[in-house]
C-alpha cells in the first residue's frame, strides 16, 4: 500500500503539462549541448581536413599513432595526471584525517571553511599566485638571494616540477573533500574497538581506516585525474616550451593549425582516456557514477 500511495503522491503536478514543460529544457540541454556535440566530435574525427567529400577517413587517428610526437605527449600527459593524482592523494590524506578525526567542534568547522576558501577563487588567480612565487624575479628567488642561499636568481617556473606544484595545487580540494567525507563518517568506536582488541596504530590505519576510506579515495582520484588531464591553464602558464601538454596540442590543432578534424580526433582520444580511467576506478571499487558525484 505504501508504495502505491507514494506513486500517486508523486503524480501531483502543478498543471497537466508540467512534465512536458520540465522535460523540454532537459532534452534540449542533453541533446543540443551534450549528445549532439559529442557525436559530431566523433563524426568529424573520421573526416579528412578540408576534404569531407572523401568520406570515412582514419588518417587522423593513424597520424596520432604514427607520429611519435603526438603519442609521446599523450603518454606524458597521462603520466603527469597519474603522478599528480598520487601526489595530491599523499598530501591530502593526512590533512583529511586531521580534519575528520582530530579537529573538533568549532575548530573543525572553521578549518574546513578555511581549506575550502582558496578553491572558490579563480583558477587563474591561483596559478598566477604561484607564477609570481616561482618566477626568476619572483618572491622565492628574492628571499633566497636576500638570505644568500642563492648567489643569483634561478628560474623555477617553466619546468616539470612547477607543473606538478601547479596541478596539485589546482586540484587539492577535490581530493580532500571526498576523503574527509568518508573519514568523518567512520565511527570512532570502530577505531577504539580495534585499539581495545590490541591493534597497533599502523594495523588500525591499514585494516580499519584505509579500507573504510576507499570510496572517498576513489572519488577523489577520479576527479583529480580527470581535472588534471583536462587542465590547460596550468601547463601552458607554468610549463616550459618543450613540455607540451596534450590539451595544448588540441588547442594548436583547433586554433593554430585550423585542423579541426585532427583536433577532434585528439579530443576524442583524451575523452577516451579520461573515460577509461573513470570506468576503471569505478569498476575497481564497485561504485556507481551516480554515487560518486554526491
Amino acid at each position: 500500500m505504501g508504495g502505491i500511495q507514494n506513486n500517486s503522491k508523486k503524480s501531483f503536478k502543478p498543471f497537466p503539462w508540467f512534465r512536458v514543460v520540465c522535460l523540454i529544457p532537459l532534452l534540449v540541454w542533453i541533446f543540443v549541448l551534450l549528445v549532439g556535440p559529442h557525436v559530431q566530435l566523433f563524426v568529424i574525427s573520421f573526416i579528412k581536413n578540408r576534404h569531407p567529400e572523401e568520406g570515412f577517413y582514419l588518417g587522423n587517428y593513424i597520424r596520432f599513432f604514427s607520429e611519435p610526437l603526438y603519442w609521446r605527449i599523450f603518454v606524458r600527459t597521462a603520466i603527469y595526471a597519474i603522478v599528480t593524482t598520487f601526489f595530491t592523494l599523499s598530501i591530502c590524506y593526512p590533512a583529511a584525517f586531521f580534519l575528520a578525526k582530530m579537529a573538533k567542534g568549532r575548530w573543525k568547522l572553521g578549518l574546513i571553511l578555511l581549506v575550502v576558501l582558496p578553491f572558490w577563487i579563480s583558477e587563474l588567480v591561483r596559478t598566477y599566485s604561484w607564477m609570481i612565487m616561482l618566477r626568476e624575479t619572483g618572491v622565492i628567488n628574492w628571499i633566497m638571494v636576500s638570505l644568500g642561499v642563492f648567489s643569483k636568481p634561478i628560474e623555477m617556473l617553466y619546468n616539470d616540477y612547477a607543473i606538478f606544484v601547479g596541478l596539485s595545487y589546482a586540484s587539492m580540494l577535490y581530493m580532500l573533500l571526498p576523503i574527509y567525507g568518508v573519514l568523518d563518517g567512520l565511527d570512532d568506536t570502530l577505531i577504539e574497538a580495534a585499539q581495545d582488541l590490541g591493534a597497533s596504530r599502523w594495523t588500525i590505519l591499514w585494516e580499519v581506516v584505509w579500507p573504510h576510506s576507499l570510496p572517498g579515495v576513489t572519488a577523489g582520484c577520479i576527479i583529480v585525474f580527470m581535472l588534471t588531464l583536462g587542465n590547460y591553464l596550468t601547463p601552458t602558464l607554468m610549463g616550459g616550451k618543450n613540455s607540451l601538454y596534450f590539451t595544448e596540442t588540441i588547442y594548436n590543432q583547433f586554433i593554430v593549425s585550423w585542423n579541426w578534424n585532427q583536433g577532434s580526433a585528439f579530443g576524442f582520444l583524451l575523452l577516451l582516456l579520461s573515460g577509461l580511467f573513470v570506468w576503471l576506478g569505478l569498476k575497481f571499487t564497485g561504485q556507481k557514477l551516480t554515487e560518486v558525484v554526491r
Binding site: 514543460v21 540541454w29 575550502v116 582558496p118 577563487i121 577532434s264
Partner: protein, 291 residues
C-alpha cells in the same frame, strides 16, 4: 570522551605541524599575491618599495590601475553578462530538471540522469571543442538549406561568441545546479504542498507559498555557485570565445606577455568577491541542511 586514535601528544604535535604546513601551502601564495597588489614596484615581487593603491585606480602611463584599464573593465563586463546568463539558465534548467528527477517517474529517467551528470567527468576542453564543432556543423547545415544570405542573422549568433560561451558553460554548470537543487527538493515532504492545497491554495499557489521558500537556500547557493564557476571558467570558454574576451581569457593573454601588479590588484578584487559569495553560499547550504 575516550582516547582518540593517535592521541599521544608527540604524534598530535606532528599532525598539527603538518596541517599548519598544509594551510601555509594553500594560503601563502594567495596572501603574497594580495600583498604585492599594494607594492609600488612595477614587478610584482619584493623588495617593498612603498605602499600604493595605484594598481587599483591610477591612470598614469607607467601605472595603469584596474579601474582605468578600459580593456580590463570591458572584460569584467563581459564576464558579468555571461555569468548572469549562465546563472539564470542553470537555475531554470536546474529547477525544472530537479522536479522531473525527484517527483516524476518515466521511461528513460535513469539514462537522462546519467546524461546530465556525465559533464562532471568530461574535461572542460572537450566540452568546449565539441560544442564548437557541433554549432559549426549547424551553421554549415543552415547555409546549405537556406542559402548564405537568409541564414546570416542566425549564423552570426551561432559563431564563437557570447551565446556559445554561455551555452558551453551552462552545459556543465547546469549539472551542478541540478545536483544542489535536487538534493534539497528530495528532502521536501510532499505533504506540505498537499497541506497548502487543502487549506485553499491553488496548485501554483502551493508551489510559490511553500515549495519555493523551502528551496530558496538551495536556489541561492546554486546560483552563487553557478555565478562563480562561470566567472572563473577558462578551459571551456577558451574555444568558444569571440571578439569579446571574458576576464579569465583576457588575464590569460595578459599573463603570457607582461605582468604588472595590476593583475595582483584584480586578484585582490576577485579574491574578496569570491570569498564573500562563497561564504554566503556555504552558510546558505548549512541552513538548508538544518531547516
Amino acid at each position: 570522551m575516550s582516547k582518540k586514535p593517535g592521541s599521544s601528544t608527540s604524534l598530535k604535535t606532528i599532525y598539527i605541524i603538518y596541517f599548519i604546513a598544509f594551510l601555509l601551502f594553500l594560503f601563502v601564495p594567495l596572501i603574497i599575491n594580495g600583498i604585492l597588489a599594494f607594492n609600488s614596484d612595477e614587478v610584482p615581487s619584493f623588495p617593498w618599495r612603498g605602499a600604493t593603491f595605484g594598481w587599483f585606480y591610477s591612470s598614469s602611463e607607467d601605472q595603469v590601475g584596474v579601474l582605468n584599464d578600459a580593456r580590463m573593465i570591458r572584460a569584467i563586463g563581459a564576464s558579468f553578462r555571461v555569468a548572469g546568463m549562465v546563472t539564470l539558465l542553470s537555475l531554470l534548467a536546474g529547477t525544472t530538471s530537479s522536479f522531473l528527477f525527484v517527483r516524476e517517474n518515466f521511461w528513460g529517467k535513469q539514462a537522462l540522469y546519467f546524461a546530465i551528470i556525465a559533464p562532471l567527468v568530461i574535461p572542460g576542453v572537450i566540452l568546449g571543442i565539441s560544442i564548437l564543432v557541433f554549432f559549426n556543423g549547424i551553421i554549415g547545415g543552415l547555409k546549405a538549406t537556406f542559402g548564405p544570405d537568409l541564414a546570416r542573422p542566425i549564423v552570426r549568433a551561432l559563431r564563437p561568441g557570447s551565446l556559445l560561451v554561455i551555452l558551453g558553460q551552462f552545459s556543465f554548470i547546469g549539472t551542478i545546479a541540478t545536483l544542489v537543487i535536487s538534493a534539497r527538493l528530495r528532502k521536501f515532504p510532499i505533504e506540505l504542498e498537499e497541506a497548502a492545497m487543502d487549506l485553499g491554495s491553488s496548485r501554483w499557489g502551493a508551489i510559490f507559498s511553500v515549495t519555493v521558500p523551502y528551496l530558496f537556500p538551495a536556489l541561492l547557493s546554486a546560483g552563487i555557485l553557478a555565478f562563480l564557476l562561470s566567472f572563473e571558467n577558462f578551459a571551456t570558454t577558451l574555444f568558444l570565445i569571440g571578439p569579446k574576451p571574458t576576464l579569465p581569457i583576457f588575464l590569460y593573454s595578459r599573463l603570457r606577455f607582461f605582468i604588472t601588479p595590476e593583475i595582483n590588484a584584480i586578484s585582490v578584487i576577485l579574491m574578496a568577491g569570491t570569498a564573500l559569495l562563497g561564504l554566503l553560499s556555504m552558510t546558505m547550504r548549512g541552513r538548508a541542511e538544518v531547516g
